[in-house]
């Protein structure tokens, strides 16, 4: 399972656009399992970083070294975007889409979709157009759609932004379940409480660079001033 995908070593990763360096150089090892939080202020480069890891942001320099071939690695990841894309289809068809790509058909397809719809409390909305769902419902649907084909590595870019407490709790439960199943998770969050609840380890980005990284325990004893004020909720410049 995850064992032959992770760890992921990134070496000298850089993303430049129009001569400006948005990210890096970053060298880091993502361990075998658990949940890694990528934190940092707006514009720190979190989204760029996650997309680069997932292979949908062009890398200007550096290397991603998976425990397996890049092609194999690519097929075993899923990504939930900061603003989730809903296909202009029903909830059922949104869930079915990744399964269809993998050749799942017929009864299995229907059963899996219905089971996942139940898990995200959208059983009654299966035939409703997904773009009409509320923000929280959309976010849950996007996560279910990412998990439905059983990825070994899941990226989530601020899955709980703009959500209330109960929706956030639902999503955190889904992530905890996925972790129990052995899914490796790399995500971003602005919610310091959520970071403390979920993170096994963290990585603090500022200005496109890693300022600090460590296990979640280290969040209680931040080294840099930037992380200290970030955790206190101060405004960073």
């Amino acid at each position: 399972m995850v064992g032959d995908l992770m760890p992921l070593d990134i070496v000298g990763l850089e993303v430049r656009r129009r001569g400006k360096r948005l990210l890096g150089p970053i060298t880091h090892r993502f361990g075998l399992d658990g949940l890694t939080m990528v934190i940092g202020p707006n514009g720190a480069g979190k989204t760029t970083f996650l997309k680069a890891l997932h292979g949908i942001e062009r890398i200007s320099a550096g290397d991603l070294r998976w425990a397996t071939s890049p092609e194999d690695a690519k097929g075993r990841q899923a990504y939930v975007f900061q603003t989730p894309t809903m296909l202009r289809r029903s909830v059922r068809e949104n869930l079915a889409y990744p399964l269809r790509l993998n050749g799942v058909r017929g009864g299995d397809l229907a059963k899996t979709c219905e089971a996942w719809a139940e898990r995200i409390n959208l059983s009654d909305a299966l035939e409703r157009p997904a773009p009409r769902l509320s923000g929280g419902e959309r976010q849950k649907l996007a996560i279910a759609r990412a998990l439905i084909s059983g990825p070994d590595l899941l990226f989530l870019d601020e899955p709980c932004a703009n959500l209330d407490g109960s929706a956030t709790a639902d999503i955190e439960r889904m992530l905890a379940d996925a972790l129990d199943q052995g899914t490796r998770i790399i995500m971003t969050s602005h919610d310091v409480g959520q970071v403390r609840r979920l993170a096994h380890d963290f990585l603090f980005l500022h200005g496109g660079q890693i300022r600090e990284a460590g296990s979640s325990g280290q969040l209680n004893d931040p080294q840099s001033i930037e992380l200290k004020s970030f955790l206190k909720g101060d405004i960073l410049r």
Binding site: K74, A78, F81, T85, L87, R88, S90, Y97, P98, P129
Partner: protein
């Protein structure tokens, strides 16, 4: 003035009584334009989508060419198709000149760029929305095109309607390559032109009403389609 009123009354009766000539001409018009539309769509819908999804070196040039082709004067298209199909032309051996097939060929050339351009525009918008997700899901290029075609099907229907509207009302090209031969290549627009020049306003107006009716149906359908599209009901 009296002429016109008499003509209108006569036209009305031609339509109510389903006049044989009127029916024949209308059906031929529909046959030619719908066949041309079908062929144009088979080319333009995938090609327009492909153009929206694929990045290649001459993409801009291709789009500019497409837009230029959209503005081709139908009469000139008619002239070129005429030369190609005439006895001495490269495709003369097929004997297609002055047949409905020749008219279909001309109309395909006229409406394909239009349908393709509208398709391209709509698909580019949808693609920018879907891009990241479809790339992330590791879709193949043909899976992407199929997803866009399916989810953009309303926009594609709008494109097809626009193509049909252009085809059914077109007169210059099909007059040249079809020759407006009675019972063979006479269609709504060419018949109107002929009957008007002969001074037979009854048939001309009757045919005109049918044509206007068709255009109204098209614009009504287009309108209600774009309404459902906007209000997000799929």
């Amino acid at each position: 003035m009296a002429d016109i009123w008499d003509g209108m009354r006569a036209a009305f009766w031609l339509i109510v009584q389903l006049d044989a000539d009127l029916m024949e001409i209308t059906l031929r018009s529909l046959h030619v334009s719908l066949t041309a539309l079908l062929i144009a769509c088979l080319i333009a819908l995938p090609a327009g989508t492909w153009l929206a999804v694929r990045r290649f070196r001459f993409r801009r040039a291709a789009i500019a060419t497409l837009n230029a082709f959209m503005g081709l004067p139908p009469v000139v298209v008619g002239l070129i198709v005429y030369l190609l199909l005439s006895r001495d032309g490269p495709f003369g051996v097929f004997g297609l000149l002055f047949t409905p097939t020749a008219m279909i060929i001309a109309q395909v050339i006229i409406i394909t760029p239009l349908v393709m351009s509208i398709t391209h525009q709509a698909m580019r918008e949808l693609w920018s929305e879907y891009h990241d997700l479809l790339i992330s899901l590791n879709t193949s290029r043909s899976q992407r095109v199929r997803t866009l075609l399916w989810d953009g099907r309303r926009a594609l229907l709008t494109a097809a309607l626009a193509g049909f509207g252009r085809a059914i009302g077109e007169v210059g090209a099909i007059m040249i390559v079809g020759g407006n031969i009675d019972h063979v290549t006479r269609v709504l627009t060419t018949a109107i032109a002929l009957e008007t020049s002969k001074g037979d306003f009854a048939l001309a107006l009757g045919l005109g009403f049918v044509l206007i009716g068709l255009s109204l149906v098209i614009s009504f359908l287009t309108h209600s389609l774009s309404q459902t599209e906007r209000s997000g009901r799929w």
